[in-house]
Symmetry: D5
Subunit: 149 residues, 10 copies
């Protein structure tokens, strides 16, 4: 009996290795971006019935797991508040080093408010470069102004 989405994520990770699947293949089958699809498979997004069945088919999941994919998960993918994994830590470091800079510049352009992490999309691409290829990431979030009342 499955009692948490985390168990489904474990099943997907195990099946991905066993079946040698790639996230880009999964995304193509689901018909959405590789970023959203991967996040969904890793337990951070909610799939609709059709999407869940595609994912279930690819990874060979039981019906119960397919049902769980359609339940809104408890989000947060990291085992510690400050991530130990070097790739993920670099992102934490960017937030730490550039945090006040990002804040100042968004406020200078838009006034008080935030960049949404919900009405949000992310695109990760390889950018060829003779001095070494680069990871190019575009983040797009709706600006939400603080309401005055």
């Amino acid at each position: 009996m499955i009692s948490s989405r985390e168990q489904v994520t474990q099943m997907i990770l195990a099946a991905k290795v066993a079946r040698g699947l790639k996230w880009s293949q999964v995304a193509e089958a689901v018909g959405l971006s590789k970023e959203w699809t991967t996040a969904a498979c890793l337990g951070q997004m909610t799939l609709d019935k059709a999407q869940a069945e595609v994912v279930g088919g690819l990874f060979g999941l039981p019906d119960e797991a397919v049902a769980w994919l359609q339940i809104v998960p408890y989000k947060g993918s990291l085992p510690t508040a400050i991530p130990t994994d070097p790739l993920i830590y670099r992102w934490y470091e960017l937030v730490n080093v550039y945090g006040t800079t990002i804040k100042e510049l968004i406020h200078e352009e838009f006034g008080d408010g935030i960049m949404s992490a919900i009405d949000f999309s992310m695109d990760i691409q390889r950018q060829p470069d003779p001095k070494g290829d680069r990871v190019n990431v575009v983040l797009s979030g709706k600006f939400l102004p603080y309401k005055t009342y």
Copy 2:
């Protein structure tokens, strides 16, 4: 007597309010991007002599402060490990929710390694949108493969 870069950052913040300066003006005067320049003024980057003198002039800093701007600072701009400010927290949340996704996709494309936070640049722009303007951020970091030895 100034004994830390943080004191210089305080001076800059006080002068910025008193003089009504904008970060984009400072960046223009320094001749670099608004992202790098703001981070430098907030104590996260090291300025060369010419840059430090421009910043010192704009903010009316004493010579000792101008000297400190040329010293590599102890980096990290946040008062707590998990930021309380909503704008900055949203970025922490992105790292937390999308952390494993970013990791999976960069590894799928590049293999084991990281996206550099040092050979790195950031560009923040307003993206007009009829449903509400968006914050568009481009992050570019060199991919650094793990060395095998």
Copy 3:
């Protein structure tokens, strides 16, 4: 020289005691709700020029402080992640005890997404009750659905 909004908040708190002002009086003078106005005076919201001048006048603040009130503050009003003050702790406790319940019910009604803390308002009222008056709080936050992309 003022180098942070926190110093302005200290000035306001000191003046409020010295002058015997009430938050409701401040709100009336500013022309907005007591909830928003108090949060603004406590360093959590940004005032426009007119609002800042009213607040500056009521509390006898220097011009530099009035300028700081118009700068977007670094938000977060609590000295520790888990608040020690009993009144504020009860709210933390509500989030802790009812957190998963709130999540389940909002998702059941709206699907995946969040209740905005930015496009948000709060109204606190006394609700007379023969068994002991009650604090009645209405929270209103726009529902923001997670974007699929």
Copy 4:
């Protein structure tokens, strides 16, 4: 053998997905609000015998689980002190940003004391709005004055 309420919560969550139940249906069967009933099913409230049997019937729980539902649980529904889930975090953020405001305004109206989290009720409703529907939450807690002795 069941040795904690948490195991019963796991059973309920698993059965809810398997049987496709809604919290509002459970609440209707129990005859109480959806807020209290959901909190109870999620291990935060104590059910009486009749309520426990209704819940046990709906979710197909064994007798031992029904007995556990009638035992006062160790409360607290979150895996970390600062919640990572975005929906729940927004509530933590409200407490953090508005914490001192709530404190000031309740004290201004009532004097020293707290808003009870025990003699408390919560009502979550959809509030239709042309600019996007809102989540409307009414919190009602008895004011408890500090005793002088």
Copy 5:
């Protein structure tokens, strides 16, 4: 200019040593228990005008400090979440070792609810004992049942 209750507590502690006062004397002058009076002087309770003036007179406080004594303080008297002082730690240890026992026994007697820390009084007395005098503490808190709704 005084901008927090904590500064008043510092003044009281300094004056107490300088003037050689005892808490029991302060309590007698205030006309309340030594427990409540001491907590109030240490920044945990709110005094009314008459009480504040008595305390101000005994400790030679300025008018501004007397005004602050009448403002509801941000409560919590300990510098760390787990107290390092041995006397106070023993109380933390009691909560840690006996916490679940206290919970079980109050629930067995009263059902689900809490012992109030607001409608609460405490009395600390020396209990002579030939094997070594004991500290006898009586805690009295109103039982507050969880509301069903």
Copy 6:
């Protein structure tokens, strides 16, 4: 094979629900106070052979569990340093709010030293009260003076 006292506590909790026992019944059978007996059953005290056999009989424990009850346990009954359960948190809050008060008053009466948490007893009683029954708790701990050497 049982390898920790915690497993025995789990067995007792499971059997208590299954058999519908009350702590007061267990205490009566053991012949000691309900406070000590409950703490012992919850893994915080050490039972002698006779006591362990009584407890083993009541809860239907295997011999190995009865042997474990006679082993001094690793004490501490709470899953987090700051308890999330509201009833137990109120006690933590008392220590936090009244901590320095308790310290001052015990020192004023006894000089430097502590109130023992080892040579200690606790008694929890219902105190009828027309305005709502109260929980009355008497704590008695030997005063231990700091040794000078």
Copy 7:
């Protein structure tokens, strides 16, 4: 105006360097062990009037500081829960590595209870050794059995 014992400790440390005093000299003047005397000077023990005056004389402290030495201090000498200083960390490491061993052996010899940290003395000596002198520390604490009631 002195408002905490910590300020007195700062004065003593500053004067000790300025005057080139040794703890053993202070202990001799006070007439107690170097361990107790040093702890007292570092803000961890309470001095009587005669002791405080001797210490005040040696370090040239003002009368107010001498009065503070006679007030029971808030104890705990370390700036972080896990000490960073290598000498002190080694002691923390001993507690961490040998903690369960110490527990097992004291319980094997004495039954359930603790070794007092209050009715306690410590003696630190150089133990000459051809392979390198050793630090020899004798700790003596009264065994306090857990009370059954």
Copy 8:
């Protein structure tokens, strides 16, 4: 299959209760002090082949466990950084209260360096005392001077 030393420690603890062994008996059989032997059995020291076989024989361990006893363990015996168990906490308290004192006195006698926790031994004995027996602990650690280079 055993994959960590901790599993072996669990086996030993379970067998110790089942077989009614004492640490002093184990130490005698191993031919070393009770302090070292207990620490070794609790997963903090490495046994040689002969010692491991003696321990394996006494506790009835399988060959695989005997092999693990000869592997250097990951040390640290406490489940939390600040121990909750009262007996072990008293030792943490000693380090906290006396930490700076120990540091000052060792430096006064030896200069800069540390007392080794590796070239270290500990001896725990009962010290009869008419006012209550005492726990007498002798710690002996080689002094290691900081190297200048």
Copy 9:
């Protein structure tokens, strides 16, 4: 079914003890340094197909585990942020005590930037010494200058 690299690390550790293998033997078979090979076996590096098969053969791993060895792992090998194991703690201590020194000297030589932990190698050797053999470690990391943009 294997759902994390950690399970593979457990298998390797168990097999290493059971088969009596040495890391240097594994490294020789893999054809890389003992440092990289050990880190890889402990779940910190990614193996290619040939390497994974060699490791799988030596430790008798199932095919699924061999597949997992070729997946980039979530890195970080320590159970706590501050390591309790004395050998590893000494390294943490070096970073803590020498952290600012390392920073100053690298910046003095190279300017602003970091020493890479990715384009990095480590070599650990025994250095015979009549006063006691030494551990000699050579760390080599590419200097990465902060980019100005």
Copy 10:
């Protein structure tokens, strides 16, 4: 009046910027390595009288500061347990990622024990490399075997 070594470190840092000194110059004047000398100036090592006077002369320190340089400092140079500065964090990351590897390899070569952080030296050099110069660091620590007793 100087009451802590940290104040002296602040003076040195301020003077270093004002006077434009380099650590290598200071080391040359002191006659020791740049690593030890820098650590000493940053408050982590103890200077003898001659060394302190050289340092005092170079930085223009008052006599009282020169006296403090000869007092053993409370060590630890980082403001947070996990360093935020990217250069220092990379070292923390090395300990985290390679921690268990270092442990395994030192134990494989030397048996149980540690690499000393006290009888220790460090040498940081630029290593020219056509693909980008490298930071080469040699760490040398005496191996200290665990004592059996």
